[in-house]
Structure formats: structure tokens, C-alpha cells
């Protein structure tokens, strides 16, 4: 029964994205992936939500700058458990071309438990979908499916 509930729940992964100082590339690609007919994540049950409190899968872009760090961590805390975190683009994963800058606090896994990485500069929308599907599997396992 629990397994069935987990399986059904996993068919409704709602997405939320956080921009941690990204150059827009990954961010725009996330918007494209989440919202347009060509990629239509809604057929996977995804919905793109505006409030962190509604989210299940959080997609983070950007290298985590000094000024945005606290805000990102706070918003991340506002997402109810269980949740899955996906790092999109090379910046949150490693700092990318910005690594070593005085204003860069990343990589993100210093502060948050990351589950899935989707490197790329920016990754193709299909790669982001692939990341979401992998995240969904992680999530299903986490809620007991």
C-alpha cells in the first residue's frame, strides 16, 4: 500500500527553481523546459510552482554568490520535506568558470545535500528533463516506493 502511494505520489513532482547567481543561461533553459509545449514536463505530472512551499523537486542554478547565499539557503529550508535537490549547470556543481572568484561561495554541495547533477553550460532541455526524471526516482525511493 505504501509502495502504491509512493508510486502515485511520484507521478506529481512539482518543480521549483532557485537562481543562485546564474548567468541566465541555465535559468532560461529551465523556464523553457518547465513551461513550453515542446518539452511539456506536465505530461510527466510536473507542475512549475511559484511558491517554495508547494515544491517537491528544487532545481538550483548559479554558482552561489556571497550576497544570495543566505537567501537561497532560507528558501531551500522553506520547501517541505521530502524533497529532492537538483543542481543545473556546471556553476552549482563546481563553480564552473567562476570558481575561485572572491564573491563565489559555491560549490553548492558545501551547504546543501545535492541529489542529482546536470552539468552543461547550459544543459540541453532534454538533459534537464533527464535530471528531473532521475530526481523523481530518487524522490520515489525516499518516500518509500
Amino acid at each position: 500500500m505504501k509502495k502504491l502511494i509512493a508510486t502515485l505520489s511520484a507521478r506529481s513532482p512539482w518543480l521549483y527553481r532557485i537562481n543562485a547567481g546564474s548567468c541566465n543561461g541555465c535559468d532560461v533553459e529551465l523556464l523553457t523546459t518547465a513551461c513550453i509545449p515542446r518539452y511539456d514536463v506536465e505530461r510527466l505530472g510536473c507542475k512549475y510552482c511559484g511558491s517554495p512551499r508547494h515544491a517537491d523537486i528544487v532545481l538550483i542554478t548559479g554558482p552561489l554568490t556571497a550576497r544570495v547565499k543566505d537567501k537561497v539557503l532560507r528558501v531551500w529550508d522553506e520547501i517541505p520535506e521530502p524533497k529532492v535537490t537538483v543542481a543545473v549547470g556546471i556553476c552549482p556543481v563546481s563553480g564552473g568558470v567562476f570558481r575561485g572568484g572572491y564573491s563565489i561561495e559555491g560549490p553548492l554541495d558545501k551547504y546543501l545535500p545535492i541529489d542529482i547533477n546536470v552539468p552543461g553550460c547550459p544543459p540541453r532541455p532534454q538533459a534537464i528533463i533527464e535530471g528531473v526524471i532521475k530526481a523523481r526516482d530518487v524522490w520515489r525511493a525516499r518516500i518509500g516506493g
Binding site: 532557485i18 537562481n19 543562485a20 547567481g21 546564474s22 548567468c23 541566465n24 543561461g25 541555465c26 535559468d27 532560461v28 533553459e29 523556464l31 523553457t32 513551461c35 513550453i36 509545449p37 515542446r38 511559484g50 517554495p52 548559479g62 554558482p63 554568490t65 556571497a66 550576497r67 544570495v68 537567501k71 537561497v72 528558501v75 564552473g96 568558470v97 567562476f98 575561485g100 572568484g101 572572491y102 564573491s103 563565489i104 553550460c121 547550459p122 540541453r124 532541455p125
Partner: protein, 364 residues
């Protein structure tokens, strides 16, 4: 009308907010639904890129500048390369000049489409947003097929370009342009006549010609207020002196006229692309690089959001002594203060979007 409660209250918007593509913090003093004061805190996307640029070689900086912002990501390395070329007096081959213009105009079309799509998104017109984004996908496919990436083209290198066009790709480009042009015409009709769009954008975010001159705004914001500012015309570069195009202006200075400037500019860009495809001269793509001497140079270009300036200073080593750039949005932020005066809360995202702000550009 809904000021039932206290006269003024504080409304924070951002830094993480759906309507803002990027983190920026606005503190609004609102009276019911009317905005009385705006204070903004920037710096959330400040990555210290100018310091990073001093630690990268002149080559690495091509890639670094491309990551200033991915919506105008071609303009940055392009202008940076021009600055290096101006400094060292490198003669860029004629073919490369045309290919650079092509990359630039392709990016302009998709950047403008994105901005217009977000306008629809902000007024809650989801289907129109999706429709415009789908049209943009044609341009995304062009970028992916010609350059291998949907955002960062990596088209430029110092002394020329890295990619070439052949007959097949030109055919693909031209047929894509035909599709986009037809779709853009239809979209222009919708934006120009749909009641919902007109009611939300006409007379909103007014910014007069004198304000535009005083705050020295650039790009579609200036042109939407009737100032015919365009670096492509004012100080032509690359292949622009040999191309014919119109500098689009609109007179009303509201959200709608800025949108219509972008709309019409896309048609101009498509025309420029056709001219380039037709006139593309034969020849090499890039030249062998000489030593880069010590010196200083400036370069300017018209990015999708307006004038972009690069200043480069070298000292004869492989890394720059100073690399500084001024992005178009940097000049346009101040205009928000004028535009948002006494506007409605609902109009804020709309007004912010109308200057097509690029925060990652501005804060570097």
C-alpha cells in the same frame, strides 16, 4: 480602491521571486495597490567577474565574458574580441565580419522573443507566452544547429570566428527565418491589437523623451521613448557599414511601445540576416594572432538590450591589466524609478520586464 487597511505598508519583492528571472530585491512602499516608493538592493548575481578576468588569459576571457549573461551572450565575447583587435590592430577577415553579424542578429531575435514572451507570462497570458516561446524554439534550433549550443554560441575568437557556414546550413537558416518571420508578423498583430495586452501595457510605465536623455538610457528603452540611439548606426562596426537597416523608434515611451520596438527590430534583424546570407564573401575565418602589445582600447556594440562598452588594458603579458565592461542594463535601471512612480503593484513586474533588465550583466 482596495486601500481598506492601513495607508502605506511595505512589500518586499525578491530576491527569489517568480516574476523576476533573476534575483533582485525591491522594497516597495505601497498604499493599497499603489506604489509610492521603490528602493532596490542589487548584487545578488555579483560574481566578481572583473577580478576573475584579470586572472584569466586573453583566450580564457572569451569564454568568461560569454558567461556574463546568456541572453546577450554573443555580444560580450564579440565586443571583447573587438577590443583586443582594436588594441593590437588585428585585421579581421571580411567573411568573419559577416559571420559575426549573423551570430549577433540571431541572438537578438531570440532575445527579443524571450522578452516578449515573458511580457505575456507576466500578464498571465500563458498560451501566448507558450506560443511566443515556441516561435523562439525555431531560433534555438538555428543556434543549436549552426553553433552547437542553444544559449552560448562560442562563435567568436580573437581575430575572427570559429565556425563557418556552408550551403546546406545557409538553406536551413533561410528557411527557419521564413518561418520565424511569418510567426513574428502574426505575433506583432496580436500584441498590437489584443485587448488584454493593450489594456495592461498602454500608458503603463511612462518614460518621456527628456527623461530618456537625462538618464542616458540605451537600447530599446531609449528607442521606445523616441531617441534613435543605435551603435550599429552611430559608430558602425563589423559588417554593419555595408548592411542597410532601419533604426526602429516608437514615441509613446510606455511598456507597449518598448515591446513594439523589440517586435519591429526582429523583422529588421531577419532582414539583416538575409542580407548577410546573400552577401557573405569568401575568404578565411580568422587571422593568425600577433603578439598583443601593451596598451588600452575601447570597443562598442549594440547588444539586444542596447549599447555595450568594453574597455581593455594590457601590459604585454598574457592576462589583461584591466578588463571592464558596461552593459546596457546598467544604464537602464535608474529609469525604473521614473517608470514606477505611482504605478500599481500588478504593473511592477511588467515595468521591470519592459527595460529587459539583465541582472547578471549588470552586476557581473
Amino acid at each position: 480602491m482596495s486601500s481598506l487597511d492601513n495607508p502605506t505598508s511595505t512589500l518586499p519583492i525578491g530576491p527569489v521571486h517568480v516574476a523576476l528571472e533573476e534575483p533582485m530585491y525591491f522594497r516597495l512602499d505601497v498604499e493599497g495597490e499603489t506604489v509610492r516608493g521603490v528602493e532596490l538592493t542589487a548584487g545578488h548575481v555579483h560574481r566578481g567577474m572583473e577580478a576573475l578576468a584579470l586572472r584569466r588569459t586573453l583566450f580564457q576571457n572569451i569564454v568568461l565574458t560569454e558567461r556574463v549573461c546568456s541572453l546577450c551572450s554573443n555580444s560580450h565575447p564579440f565586443t571583447y574580441c573587438m577590443a583586443v583587435e582594436n588594441l593590437a590592430g588585428i585585421p579581421v577577415p571580411e567573411r568573419a565580419l559577416y559571420l559575426r553579424v549573423m551570430a549577433e542578429e540571431i541572438k537578438r531575435v531570440s532575445s527579443h522573443l524571450f522578452n516578449l514572451a515573458v511580457l505575456a507570462h507576466i500578464i498571465g497570458f500563458k498560451s501566448l507566452f507558450m506560443h511566443v516561446m515556441e516561435v523562439r524554439e525555431i531560433m534555438q534550433d538555428v543556434k543549436e544547429t549552426l553553433y552547437g549550443n542553444r544559449m552560448d554560441l562560442a562563435a567568436n575568437c580573437i581575430g575572427g570566428v570559429k565556425y563557418d557556414m556552408d550551403a546546406e546550413l545557409t538553406r536551413f537558416l533561410l528557411s527557419s527565418l521564413d518561418r520565424v518571420e511569418g510567426a513574428v508578423r502574426k505575433i506583432a498583430k496580436i500584441y498590437g491589437s489584443d485587448v488584454m495586452i493593450l489594456r495592461r501595457t498602454r500608458g503603463v510605465g511612462l518614460f518621456g523623451r527628456e527623461d530618456a536623455r537625462g538618464l542616458a538610457v540605451v537600447g530599446p528603452v531609449a528607442r521606445g521613448s523616441g531617441l534613435p540611439l543605435d551603435v550599429r548606426r552611430e559608430a558602425p562596426y563589423a559588417a554593419y557599414p555595408r548592411l542597410s537597416f532601419e533604426v526602429v523608434t516608437e514615441q509613446d515611451g510606455d511598456v507597449h511601445s518598448r515591446a513594439m520596438v523589440r517586435m519591429r527590430e526582429m523583422e529588421v534583424s531577419i532582414d539583416i540576416l538575409r542580407q548577410c546570407a546573400r552577401d557573405l564573401p569568401a575568404g578565411p575565418l580568422s587571422v593568425l594572432l600577433p603578439e598583443i602589445p601593451a596598451g588600452e582600447a575601447l570597443a562598442r556594440s549594440e547588444a539586444p538590450r542596447g549599447e555595450l562598452v568594453y574597455y581593455l588594458r594590457t601590459d604585454g603579458t598574457e592576462t589583461p591589466n584591466r578588463l571592464k565592461w558596461r552593459v546596457p542594463s546598467y544604464m537602464n535601471w535608474d529609469a525604473l524609478g521614473v517608470m514606477m512612480k505611482d504605478c500599481k503593484v500588478s504593473d511592477i513586474p511588467l515595468i521591470v520586464n519592459s527595460i529587459d533588465p539583465c541582472i547578471s550583466c549588470t552586476e557581473r
